[in-house]
Symmetry: D3
Subunit: 264 residues, 6 copies
Amino acid sequence: MPSVFLEEIDAQSYASYVSRTDSTVIIPTGATEQHGPHMPLGVDAMLSKAIAGQLAQRTGALVAPVFSYGYKSQPRSGGGNHRVGTTSLGASTLISKIEEVAASFMAQGFKNVVVLNGHFENYQFLYEGLDKAVASSLQAGSTSRAVLMSYWDFVDEQTLEQVFPEGFLGWDIEHGGVLETSLMLLLHPELVRMDRVVDHPPAELTSYDVFPEDPARTPASGCLSSARNATAARGQLLLDAVTSALGAALGQELNLSSQMVEVE
Amino acid sequence: MPSVFLEEIDAQSYASYVSRTDSTVIIPTGATEQHGPHMPLGVDAMLSKAIAGQLAQRTGALVAPVFSYGYKSQPRSGGGNHRVGTTSLGASTLISKIEEVAASFMAQGFKNVVVLNGHFENYQFLYEGLDKAVASSLQAGSTSRAVLMSYWDFVDEQTLEQVFPEGFLGWDIEHGGVLETSLMLLLHPELVRMDRVVDHPPAELTSYDVFPEDPARTPASGCLSSARNATAARGQLLLDAVTSALGAALGQELNLSSQMVEVE
Amino acid sequence: MPSVFLEEIDAQSYASYVSRTDSTVIIPTGATEQHGPHMPLGVDAMLSKAIAGQLAQRTGALVAPVFSYGYKSQPRSGGGNHRVGTTSLGASTLISKIEEVAASFMAQGFKNVVVLNGHFENYQFLYEGLDKAVASSLQAGSTSRAVLMSYWDFVDEQTLEQVFPEGFLGWDIEHGGVLETSLMLLLHPELVRMDRVVDHPPAELTSYDVFPEDPARTPASGCLSSARNATAARGQLLLDAVTSALGAALGQELNLSSQMVEVE
Amino acid sequence: MPSVFLEEIDAQSYASYVSRTDSTVIIPTGATEQHGPHMPLGVDAMLSKAIAGQLAQRTGALVAPVFSYGYKSQPRSGGGNHRVGTTSLGASTLISKIEEVAASFMAQGFKNVVVLNGHFENYQFLYEGLDKAVASSLQAGSTSRAVLMSYWDFVDEQTLEQVFPEGFLGWDIEHGGVLETSLMLLLHPELVRMDRVVDHPPAELTSYDVFPEDPARTPASGCLSSARNATAARGQLLLDAVTSALGAALGQELNLSSQMVEVE
Amino acid sequence: MPSVFLEEIDAQSYASYVSRTDSTVIIPTGATEQHGPHMPLGVDAMLSKAIAGQLAQRTGALVAPVFSYGYKSQPRSGGGNHRVGTTSLGASTLISKIEEVAASFMAQGFKNVVVLNGHFENYQFLYEGLDKAVASSLQAGSTSRAVLMSYWDFVDEQTLEQVFPEGFLGWDIEHGGVLETSLMLLLHPELVRMDRVVDHPPAELTSYDVFPEDPARTPASGCLSSARNATAARGQLLLDAVTSALGAALGQELNLSSQMVEVE
Amino acid sequence: MPSVFLEEIDAQSYASYVSRTDSTVIIPTGATEQHGPHMPLGVDAMLSKAIAGQLAQRTGALVAPVFSYGYKSQPRSGGGNHRVGTTSLGASTLISKIEEVAASFMAQGFKNVVVLNGHFENYQFLYEGLDKAVASSLQAGSTSRAVLMSYWDFVDEQTLEQVFPEGFLGWDIEHGGVLETSLMLLLHPELVRMDRVVDHPPAELTSYDVFPEDPARTPASGCLSSARNATAARGQLLLDAVTSALGAALGQELNLSSQMVEVE
């Protein structure tokens, strides 16, 4: 197999792969969303795609085209949907999209469909879409299974301490912070401008949401915490920890043999 | 005003209230969901309605009829939607329902619409519905605002330590546990059977979801942790803490004067 | 069984009940709607829930949480949706809600789903939702059945003459009139203020609808006829007649044994 | 104007008409539904179109293309949707269709949109669609109005007595009965075969609906009463009464001048 | 069978026909759309219905009620949806309508459903609706098939040369041109006013679409080319060629025996 | 501006660009679809993205993340949706997606939204979505405009003759043929395997569609014509012709100054 990214694979190789008894497709999901002055709009899509690629290498899976647009950015996790640079889908569209794409892969014969989420706000809508897709597939006689996972949920305590020696304050303020910036410095360094990193204290988020959104509620920078401590080395720690834990979970859950995919 | 519950108020009293400059309606949202062998299916609706009632007393608001049906129960927070006793709505229906109800209240003249959530899985769908309702209202010239809050997000650290002297393990395993049972012992003691409380260790939840759901993943009891330490006294601590913090947040956010609603 | 209302029942008792060969759930549906100056907004929900409770006692059924919000009030039967105090759902939401709730009960094993309607305008939308739910269930192999009924359709001629000795003018003008007020005087007397009952002649309704609604078309009181002749005694006559006739219909249609539900 | 039917009018004549201050379009709505062995499937569409044509002549209105497909036939008014020959739309499609068509006419400049219904089951769904169309038009600045009417609601008592000298038993059993057959004998005699008219007693309809439908509940003939007393003369009485009353209602409600439309 | 148009057939004759092993229903689809100053708004519906009628005679099929409203007129094929006289459906409604109507015919037992399109813009939406209807029917065990065809795609080269001896410039500019006008002169001559035919050069259409539509982009006449060379004789050539080719395609594809439908 | 692809741009640079009076975003739309044994599944997305990039360089526009999933592949233009390797969206999802993305860009301040289509079957659904997005934006006071174009519609006659010296047989059979293969040889040569190019005659396509699809109708290879004459040089001819013509059309239609976007 010349690539784990199925957009780069021809239909014959694809058909051959799908017929395997452990055929697995990973669908990375991101967003088009501002990530502060130092990172590009495509961070969530780039990271979920890159991690999916590494996970596919480990588990013998293929990677579907990334979902580049995600659910509306929310102030408590991403700065808010009102910001220039953030272009989102509504709930109904995201639900239908994952439902149709997952159902299509199952109908074509994939035994496992894995959705690897890279944008916090997507999760519940991906859940609904997968739930509907699998219910329909079951009714049509399929035995395919689906797994939904967000990559940051697989960072272990030890890695957290190494990456945040100053103390970890929660995933909710990591939008545009150390986690994402470190991974970008590792995977797409040419798209990060550390000279522009903000240096303000972590955002103090409310425990509720207000409509219409109040732009004054989150930092003008668009970052919920500072990325000044981000480094590519920390990115490597995170990437290793995440792909290892994701691979272990999929291996156990789906009985993936973890053999590498070979070119036919 | 003879009651804070608007189903018990006549249209004239209601109209008089709505014309106030700080008219506020609180919409409690729950679910119909199994809560173990010791509590009834309506826990989420009962608790959100009761807390909304107390919050309304504090802030001079009215309470709308509770949403008795919620989004699908998920294994990582409620045991799962496959369990007998759990009857849920899909995403689209819940989104439309809150959108239409909130928009109607704003169109009738309410200055503030507060959604008080009592079922974890509802949150993102309530968010989408409120976002759409407020966007439409804004376009139609309304200046009404909306707030979305889940009551457990307002339990402070000190109360947590008092209620969970043995150590707090996270909201995700509180389904059917000490929090909900203590509140029910306080508010609806006749519906709790402490002799049936389970005594198994907290559920070890995965950091991902699998479709179709694997029933073996969560305890057969339907509780994600034991409620054996629940007491009405702890329920009182929780209720006081939550209503106080909710009231403070609304007071600050919406400039509510906190005067009591008077019978006309 | 400690209660016929399933929100008050635990999951184990519920599961035990559902496994019966005649397990039946009654879903009461009402509205949040102005009912004149003398009655509260929740009349339709309260009455359908109360009648469902009595019907459940008779037939050994359970009662699901009431639908508190209904389809838009229409001028020819409820005064109109423009009135302050009336908060409604659109057709699509109501259809989806009953479809999903009914389908869920059938999937859990209920042999019979009964929808007991208490708001005139709901009927056709409940019909559509039930029709879709049963069609899906049939296709999935279920043999469950559903029944849709509005309670006033079960008042017999003799009772009509007793309740309306002055002459019965039709159900369409009974919004806020003798029927509903008598039942409320019987079931929730503390929520009725007979000193505020209007005393105008019955509304003269057109035989067509106009959009946008013309508020001048229906009485400013919100009542389509006067409730001055309402009494709790008439409420008892109505309640007895209705529950008896409903029970007979269900007994014949669904072969319900009418034995009382026992506490386990 | 060469015709009142707008499908037969050219765009220039149409544009000229729409610019009038009382421009009115009547949309007839029917169904494709079995009407017993003696009448064709298109009765509802044919009658609503014909009556709309006569009403247009009276009021100076135009007639839009008829809706040939209607909401599902129901056992209590049309025999049921399971019968061969009955092809129906679901609620959502019918609502969207009338909403879009009515909104388009209002956007093009019609001052009045009249929906003339000829299939009982359509009414509530037409109501919802018109309600949404007019709400949108209002928000876009339009002052157009809409009226919804079913033609049989305009038969007066005196006509009823003349048409049903044997006694009138209610509109619900008139499916395939004297009303529709008489009108068809007048308007489309070549499509009626009186030698095939059934002669069974009126159907005894239940006061509730059952799902799935029980075909044994309604007569195998598909008629809910016998049309043996139908005559073209009675059809003429009905047509005169209905068009006269409809015209009077529109004249009063919409201030139509009732001048005849002239060919330009 | 007294007629090939099923609205003119009674339910018994219909049922008898449907039980045939080659039962076929043709659904003609048109639009309500301006066709220049010389032709009426109903051209697309009239032509598709008339051609469907002739095709039914040839193939022993029945014709369903025509879809009188179509998808939005587009500037590159029909002048544009902004023109007065053009009343259209959105994509969702048209998709749902054909899906429900086609699925209903298949459920009733038709072996073949043919959609004969007469409005260019409809095609892709009819495709989606048929695709969904057939997928559902397959899943429910049906073996019915569907065919989608636009009548102008069946004009052969030789006929084109005869009808357009001056040179054929493409179907896209035929809106209100020689094709449609010739067919109307043949089939509905009383609705064509050749004295009003425009005489401007063919519209020069762009190879892209612009939103909002620019009315200056297409001729003010509403015709994309002149119909001055239209004649009933050319209409006959077209009608013969089209019905012959359509019949041949259906005969081959669906194994229709082409025997004429007989009156029972 | 460091890149024309907005996923690679930070929010500040993006905001600065959007405030220009000619700010333009190009949304490329493709599909995930088999393209024969010699090309990968992502051809449509890759080509539309690459052409959009070149067009952006010419016109000073930005390029939004490509739509990697498109409408169902159809037999008459892409081989059909039943083929392994083809994963598609339904009409409703694609319509909603382009509607929401385009509306978001307009709300953020883009003066022009250009959709550059690279998958034939997408066009009508993109049209509907753009039509709705622009209608909403207009109603909200925006003056933004949108353009919809498919790149192959901009190949001029002269280029056609150079690229197809053997004769051009129509765009419909170019799926996996000379056009796409030549462009891929130019833009992504590492993903093309010319040794696997099929050498069968062009597919003979029917002038209608059949449901369910008949796989025997199109070549087993998945290509509708042979790409044996494809070369990178022909790809260059096509790319130059297309970007030049697209640029000219946008320049004229949108008054784009065609100055290059500068890095800030």
